[in-house]
Symmetry: C2
Subunit: 580 residues, 2 copies
């Protein structure tokens, strides 16, 4: 063993001991005849002291050289309180230069001003920065904690195929031409959905998998070509039983990884409540400014815009931003209006409160009574700003929810070291597709409608709710799932409602429906986005900070981003040809 | 919760308790007015008793129906000693039929006579067989044990990209056309080799990953389109230190998963010793019949075949099969001769021992002194059979090793419940390719040659040994690895020896060689084949028994085997066209 102890672990208790250390040169400086080197390994940094006998050898050493030293641990005269090892130093007696290093194109430190492009091109150096190492170590701590929980609950990890048939997840599949079956293609999995349901039919009862999933979509800041999903499925459990387990898993995770006690059960909001109060099906409840319904105040409004909404049974809702009116310039108001429009609103009413009245361009359309009612309903105080959207219920909620999030961010209300979990439940089973002029499955076609809503399948699809649920953390969807249909007839009915012909059903899902005939248990589960959990817990903004070798649309990453041109012979073997 | 206890866990201590159970009907039989049902879940089977009040309801129940029952636990009058729950039964008071089941196309039992094709087509039912569930549970127990060891040794699990550039592993890559970069292709990884070395350059020091790896090769009984590799890499450790850790991991694994104490350190054979003694670089040392060198006995042989071999500095080797001569018919001898030829031998000499002499068609070419020497050297006894091959050293070893394995199997010497580990070390660095008339890397081009053999790089490549090692279990290669080159100059030299031009080096490995310039630590590791470990420990012959949804060249598996025809529009988007 080249080392007897890791650099970051040296403490006063080691004074007087002989040690061997290895690591990278983080800093070198001369002080008279002495040379000081900070030697870094993954555990931290330790100060080495070389006396003049090493002056020839240390001359050549530069940052990021790899060293192996022997020496003795001494107490430092001038302790460095910023460093865990700051009370000691190692007086070197033997030095071996294991490897040299060119000047690195980015500085190996937590803070970096390197461009994203440079970081990607030299990812192996970017990952040498201690903060990046900590993030990937935290990601590992997260998987360990989750696995540990699931193992203790007798879940079985089972790997499912990477090369299979297309599954009906909605996004585009990555295709893989088959050499053995010319002209045919495998698909990379978008999720193990069908397999995990088959495993329940097989009687495994509790399954999990840390599964790589693929979607052939454009790269975005928070979207990679592939992602890691913590995929969980159970048999014989109710929705609440599944959720309770997942809460236990999260409580344990937060304690072990972040040292934070969180309380279970988490708040549960129905989809409708979440939209009504937060204008989002993934509410960020770290801050207030909730949406408030004010439709009834304007039942007899003379304001044309409100009149129309009332007539078409739409909604009028407001958010109040306290102490925000002053400084809300015309320019800022325009920006918020544009933001609301970008999120689907036709317009945005902005009013400023003083002691008793409201000001703003829409004030003239409001009666004094309406203003009075607003003051009471919204508990307005002087200098409050009021943002009002009126439209269909969904559009009003969505636009105002987006605005709430935007202002919450701007006001710094989304504290990265605060962690707020909740469940959104009772999602609608179907959503109307304007484009296709028919109902589509909100979640996926295997989701179980709520038992009490089954009669509605024949009368009003818009009102059917599903046993579907999402777990939300800080406004991000951490995961989502549902109970699945285990009744063959009901599954067929749902397929029919979704407009699949018998032939389509047979072609696409024939084997799957067949499987349901041989004793299918009630089952359900959910899937977590691991990358996202890791991002939030490591208090980063970028999913790329918690993936060792991410893809980046703009950067020139030689390892993972740019695919390769392929030997024409290989394409010939695959029976494919590149067009244009 | 539908159940209060799992079926397989019911014992005498539960007598008198009220319980709720769920599961599948494994067997139903009538006994007078009573109906008995064996209810199965993943933990086992429990006997239910229904009195006549249920006779109407139980009439419809058939095998594999899913039931939910309430009842009370009673002691059985006629205990079933074959069943863990055989001392108790549950007298049912409430019955809910959760789901029905058609007659299954294969019997849900450990023993099955179903064809491979049927098992694959109805894999979800094949997996319902308790023995298959146990195998997949064992696979999970294996990964848990290995992860646990690695976590406690401060290894960090890091995921590496699935869509990347081709890596130089030798086999064919699966190609994935890129939608974003028309005409270009990603490759699915054959191993995370380059990434894990980059992670060492990044300073992670100890990395592991349960990595899916892909090779676009024909399916075989023990080869899938993809496999799972336990990929491990370390910095600053010696070959022996790495091996010692892996031994600790295996000792723990065997204890936890099989309840077996194995001894470390494992035997270490050099490649040369392994070939000399077992005629294989993955020796099965559960049985003897080792190869014995008898070249010197025939220095002055008058047997033409041996003479030629002696002259060309080849090897003559023998294996002795005790008590095997009787019954070794002419027909069997021909079969062994053919087997030896199939494995590269020009012929096979078979001799039978009696008290003092040998018989066989080659006896007449041997002198009495030679026979005497054979008797002494090989410690022959009456009724021993002697098999001799003479050829170049490698061909002699290989053919005789194959024969040894074959006879060992036939004699039942490869006991599935015996587990024998060993290391094969000191592999050659290069092997001569007859086809390409040049030296190739035995392991891969990043393998470190032994320090003492570096001068041989300029004089005799055939003699250069590498810091490369395989871990063997029962004649299977469980895993293999090496120390890697961490010196830029040496890496370039190896590339040159392998005949790569400067341009090829730059194109293929430019970024990789660049990375080595920024402070690369000494590093090395290895990779285990998880599927194979699971197969051997579950005492199965087929890799498909430990993969939930395997591919099968011959079977019609609707989920995973046959890829799909693709919508021509999708191909157009990918800028590819199917030829012919």
């Amino acid at each position: 063993m080249l080392r007897t102890i890791e650099n970051g672990k040296l403490r006063l208790e080691h004074v007087g001991q002989s040690v061997e250390l290895v690591g990278w040169v983080a800093k070198k400086r001369n002080f008279g005849q002495l040379v000081f080197i900070d030697l870094r390994d993954r555990t931290g940094i330790c100060q080495l002291v070389f006396d003049e006998s090493f002056s020839e050898k240390t001359k050549s050493i530069r940052n990021e050289y790899v060293l192996h030293v022997k020496g003795s641990v001494h107490q430092r005269k001038d302790a460095n309180p910023d460093l865990a090892t700051g009370e000691v130093e190692v007086l070197v007696t033997e030095l071996e230069i294991i490897n040299s290093a060119k000047t690195t194109p980015l500085i190996i430190a937590d803070e970096t001003d390197a461009l994203e492009d440079t970081r990607m091109q030299y990812r192996y150096l970017d990952l040498r920065r201690p903060i990046m190492q900590k993030r990937l170590m935290m990601r590992h701590a997260i998987t360990r904690s989750m696995r540990d929980y699931l193992d203790h609950q007798d879940f079985i990890e089972i790997e499912t195929p990477m090369l299979g048939k297309s599954t009906p997840e909605g996004a585009r599949d990555y295709l893989v031409p088959s050499r053995v079956h010319p002209g045919q293609f495998y698909a990379l999995p978008q999720s193990p959905q069908l397999y995990k349901q088959l495993l329940m039919i097989s009687g495994f009862e509790r399954y999990y998998q840390f599964a790589r999933c693929f979607r052939d979509e454009d790269l975005r800041a928070d979207r990679q070509t592939d992602f890691t999903q913590v995929d969980i499925e159970t048999s014989f459990l109710s929705e609440v039983e599944i959720q309770t387990m997942m809460e236990e898993m999260m409580v344990k995770l937060m304690k072990e990884v972040k040292g934070i006690d969180i309380q279970a059960p988490f708040p549960r909001l129905t989809y409708e409540q979440a939209m009504n109060r937060f204008g989002s099906d993934k509410p960020d409840n770290r801050f207030g400014m909730e949406l408030q319904d004010i439709t009834d105040i304007f039942t007899n409004s003379s304001f044309k815009v409100f009149q129309n909404v009332i007539e078409s049974k739409g909604s009028i809702k407001a958010i109040v931003v306290p102490d925000f009116a002053q400084g809300l310039s015309r320019k800022k108001q325009d920006a918020y209006t544009n933001y609301a429009k970008k999120n689907g609103a036709k317009g945005l009413v902005i009013l400023k409160a003083d002691e008793k009245d409201l000001t703003g361009s829409a004030r003239k359309f409001l009666s004094d009574e309406e203003v009075q009612n607003l003051f009471e309903r919204l508990e307005l105080k002087a200098n409050d700003a009021v943002f009002i959207v009126s439209d269909t219920w969904l559009k009003t909620c969505t636009a105002l929810g987006a605005l709430r999030n935007q202002i919450g961010s701007q006001l710094g209300l989304k504290k990265k070291n605060e962690f707020s979990f909740l469940w959104v439940i009772d999602f609608p089973m179907f959503e109307w597709s304007e484009e296709e002029q028919r109902y589509q499955a909100c979640h996926h076609p295997f989701t179980q409608p709520k038992a009490e809503d089954i009669p509605l399948l024949d009368t009003d699809l818009s009102k059917v709710k599903a046993n579907a649920y999402d777990i939300i953390l800080n406004g991000y969807e951490l995961g989502g799932g549902s109970l699945r249909i285990h009744d063959n007839q009901l599954q067929k009915k749902i397929f029919e409602i979704l407009g699949l012909s018998d032939e389509e059903i047979r072609n696409k899902f024939g084997f799957f429906i067949d499987a349901f005939q041989y004793g299918t248990p009630p089952h359900g589960g959910l899937a977590f986005g691991l990358d996202r959990i890791a991002m939030i817990l490591s208090e980063s903004d970028s999913i790329r900070d918690v993936i060792a070798f991410p893809k980046n649309a703009s950067a020139s990453d030689p390892m993972s981003k740019a695919p390769s041109n392929v030997d024409p012979k290989q394409l010939e073997e695959l029976h494919i040809e590149i067009t244009k």
